[in-house]
């Protein structure tokens, strides 16, 4: 057996035994502390090795890339059969509605299209009635007046509605239909052009500014009060000491 130089077992047990080397029955207590010391040290070493191995395995070569086939996105427009789109799915009542906008990010004065699919959740039957598309501005202070874009019948189970917006902005498209004598209204957001959220940043900066300013003012008042209190205490002490002097 290779001789150990650390002798940690000896440091752990009473009577300075070295149980793993000196196996004679010399004041043994069978406390087991020597075993736990040896085991835990070994465990630290094992875990260190494990971490190193896992870290090295992380550098394994990635799998080879695969070729991408297909039509480039720049050759597509809103009338292409597979143009880039944004898609939203919602469940309302008995129907699952899928809504797609082409192009993915409409711009002012550029024609776009909405495709809407509606299927019954139980029967998977497509909706057959008319769908009316309306639009209104989105936002807290926006004009809530709605404008009808058009009413469509399904074409191959798809309701297609074209649009052209004149200005940038956040809009809400409402799809309205009736099925089984129940009216359905579904709202979808539609951002057009660049709608920069400067207002939101303003709110964050205003909150932070108000808090920091409030704390700063409160602290100044605190400090001023503390100064006044200290000055009054000093005055009181001075007055007392002068009275004491007077009495003397």
């Amino acid at each position: 057996m290779q001789r150990c130089k650390l002798l940690k077992c000896a440091s752990a047990v009473a009577a300075n035994n070295t149980p793993f080397i000196d196996r004679e029955e010399k004041a043994r207590t069978l406390c087991g502390k020597c075993m736990t010391i040896v085991l835990t040290d070994a465990r630290v070493a094992q875990v260190t090795k494990l971490i190193i191995v896992v870290a090295m395995l992380g550098w394994c070569a990635p799998t080879p890339a695969h070729h991408v086939l297909g039509r480039p996105a720049y050759s597509l427009n809103e009338d292409s059969n597979t143009p880039p789109s944004m898609q939203v799915e919602v469940q309302i009542g008995e129907y699952l509605i899928s809504y797609m906008v082409f192009p993915a990010f409409p711009r002012p004065n550029v024609p776009g299209r909405i495709n809407l699919y509606a299927y019954h959740l139980d029967t998977d039957e497509p909706l057959t009635g008319k769908v009316t598309f309306k639009v209104r501005e989105d936002g807290w202070f926006a004009d809530s007046e709605e404008e009808v874009i058009g009413t469509q019948l399904p074409d191959d189970n798809v309701y297609r509605q074209g649009f052209v917006f004149k200005e940038d902005g956040n809009y809400i498209i409402t799809a309205a239909f009736e099925a089984d004598n129940t009216p359905y209204l579904v709202d979808f957001p539609l951002p057009v052009g660049n709608t920069t959220p400067i207002g939101l940043l303003g709110v964050v900066i205003a909150i932070l500014g108000a808090v920091l300013l409030g704390v700063s003012i409160a602290q100044r008042k605190r400090l001023a009060r503390a100064k006044v209190r200290t000055a009054r205490q000093a005055d009181t002490l001075d007055a007392r000491s002068s009275n004491d002097m007077g009495e003397l």
């Binding site: 940690k8 752990a12 406390c31 087991g32 502390k33 075993m35 736990t36 010391i37 085991l39 835990t40 040290d41 465990r43 630290v44 875990v47 260190t48 971490i51 896992v54 870290a55 395995l57 992380g58 394994c60 990635p62 799998t63 890339a65 695969h66 991408v68 086939l69 297909g70 996105a73 880039p84 789109s85 944004m86 919602v90 469940q91 309302i92 009542g93 008995e94 699952l96 993915a104 990010f105 959740l121 579904v186 951002p191 920069t196 959220p197 939101l200 940043l201 964050v204 909150i207 932070l208 808090v211 920091l212 704390v215 700063s216 409160a218 602290q219 605190r222 400090l223």
Partner: protein, 506 residues
């Protein structure tokens, strides 16, 4: 696009190992357990590196500046960049890399993220108005945190709220909402720092920090005194109070009495301030804190159970059957639109079911033991079993995301706002799907190994904590059987989740 799940062969191997380990533990429970006396390597290589990084101000400051710059880039990309999630740095970096990779870093460096967290750094710069050195205390009101919220309950509520936002409202696929969330965290950290003493946000409110803190109980590194006797003799407590140049411990920890990583933010203030240079980073067995050192508390036990529950719930929501299930449930309760009501009910159920199972297992253990141990004490003490199970499943799950969804991130570095980009085509998604960071076989090995490791640590927790909690010393055979069965059930559930095909995050 769906990720393939863990092959059944791997799951079977883990299953066999789970059974063998369980039987071995049941046999071992008949013998008295000797608490391991751990001698840590005080000056290990990773410890030396971390000591230098945290103790040397300029390095830490550089790292903080870099991460703040990255955070501001993420906010800019989120607010002004493309709404396509996979083409925007805000969503891709936050949810695919950071959120998934954060859990992986805990496995190696514990709570080091908290030391360089950009939310706290920005808050510190705004309130303290100093980049380095100790700031005058009059920049903050330095109020004491109200007693009623001096626990992990606020962090737990925010953690549940974060999960609700992430999974329920589709935050992960919305760059703008991601940026708003980041800004909201900065606002909360700043307000907390301006009102309360030290870093109350990190200690009581931050859901990410508390999650990291609890998982750090399983980390293989710790910040501790090199010689406890030096701390015992110390009367000035610079680690707690700070010095003229160094800030005090942000979470009110005194190094001499520190036994757990939970509230340590790895900031290294204690390393810099200790006049005896007695504070060191050191290696240790990864599970030792959860197994024996950490002290049980009621609120922390609930947080651990919530971690376990939410880790599993997270996995469920990424399965294909989730869509059908939530749709049917929505019709049952008459929910419409984005199905937020149905999701909220499912989330509450996802929290309640594991908690009830655990409560039942604790009650059964108490009944079998037939001794007068307070239920609350047993509940808190044995709750550490949830930690390794949650952590290892979380790691295995996130490993899948990082390995399978990190491809293409470099293109975002050069175009973080995704200007002029179109949504990923099916062909591109397929290409990304095939472009893994590591080989699938290695991924499966790591995932199976992690689940098994978690189960093994859970058994160690039960064995040692059970021995300590249940009076009489020697556990009579099957006393802990309900708890072992619970650990087996959760491990089986996690294995099943990993075996299912999983939806891509983006």
């Amino acid at each position: 696009m769906m990720h393939p799940g863990l092959p059944p062969g791997w799951a079977a191997l883990v299953g066999v190992a789970v059974v063998v380990l369980s039987l071995r533990t049941l046999v071992a429970l008949r013998k008295p357990t000797i608490e391991p006396q751990v001698r840590r390597a005080a000056h290990s290589a990773p410890g030396t590196i971390m000591r230098h990084v945290t103790a040397l101000g300029p390095w830490l400051l550089l790292l903080k500046i870099a991460l703040v710059a990255l955070f501001l880039l993420i906010v800019t990309a989120g607010l002004f960049g493309t709404p396509i999630p996979e083409r925007n740095l805000a969503t891709a970096l936050t949810w695919n890399i950071w959120w998934a990779g954060l859990i992986l870093t805990i496995f190696f460096v514990g709570s080091f993220w908290c030391a360089v967290c950009p939310w706290d750094t920005l808050a510190g710069w705004l309130v303290r108005r100093r980049l380095v050195r100790r700031a005058p205390t009059n920049n903050s009101l330095n109020l004491r945190v109200p007693r009623i919220i001096r626990s992990v309950w606020p962090a737990l509520l925010l953690f549940i709220g974060l999960t609700w936002l992430e999974l329920g409202t589709g935050l992960t696929t919305n760059p703008r909402a991601t940026a708003i969330l980041g800004l909201a965290m900065v606002v909360m950290a700043t307000v907390s720092l301006a009102l309360f003493e030290r870093k109350a946000f990190c200690r009581y409110f931050c859901p990410v920090g508390r999650t990291i803190g609890f998982y750090s109980q399983l980390a293989p590194v710790e910040l501790r005194p090199a010689d406890i006797e030096v701390c015992a003799r110390c009367t000035s407590l610079e680690c707690y109070h700070g010095t003229d140049r160094v800030e005090p411990c942000p979470t009110h920890l005194a190094m001499g009495r520190l036994t757990e990583n939970t509230y340590c933010t790895s900031c290294g203030n204690c390393v810099s301030s200790c006049p005896s240079e007695n504070v060191v980073w050191r290696l240790r067995p990864p599970s030792i804190e959860a197994v024996q050192n950490a002290r049980p508390h009621w609120d922390e036990a609930c947080f651990l159970l919530a971690l376990l529950a939410l880790a599993g719930f997270h996995g469920i929501t990424m399965l294909p059957l989730w869509e059908e299930g939530i749709s049917s449930f929505a019709r049952l309760v008459g929910d419409s639109g984005t199905l937020l009501l149905s999701f909220s009910i499912a989330l509450l159920a996802g929290l309640a079911v594991p908690t009830m199972l655990y409560s039942g297992a604790v009650a059964a253990t108490r009944r079998i033991a037939g001794i007068a141990v307070e239920y609350k004490q047993l509940f808190s003490g044995l709750a550490f079993v949830a930690l390794p199970l949650a952590f290892t499943y979380h790691l295995a799950h996130n490993l899948g995301h990082v390995v399978r969804e990190s491809a293409g991130i470099w293109t975002l570095v050069f175009n973080p706002l995704g200007a002029g980009m179109q949504p990923l085509s099916v062909a591109e998604k397929q290409a990304r799907h095939m472009d893994l960071l590591i080989r699938p076989e290695l991924l499966f090995t790591l995932q199976a190994g992690l689940i098994l490791f978690g189960f093994w640590v859970a058994l160690q927790v039960l064995r040692h904590r059970g021995q300590r909690l249940l009076p009489g010393g020697v556990l009579a055979g099957f006393t802990l059987l309900p708890m072992i069965l619970l650990a087996i059930a959760f491990t089986g559930f996690h294995l099943w989740l990993l075996m299912q095909p999983m939806m891509m995050r983006l």
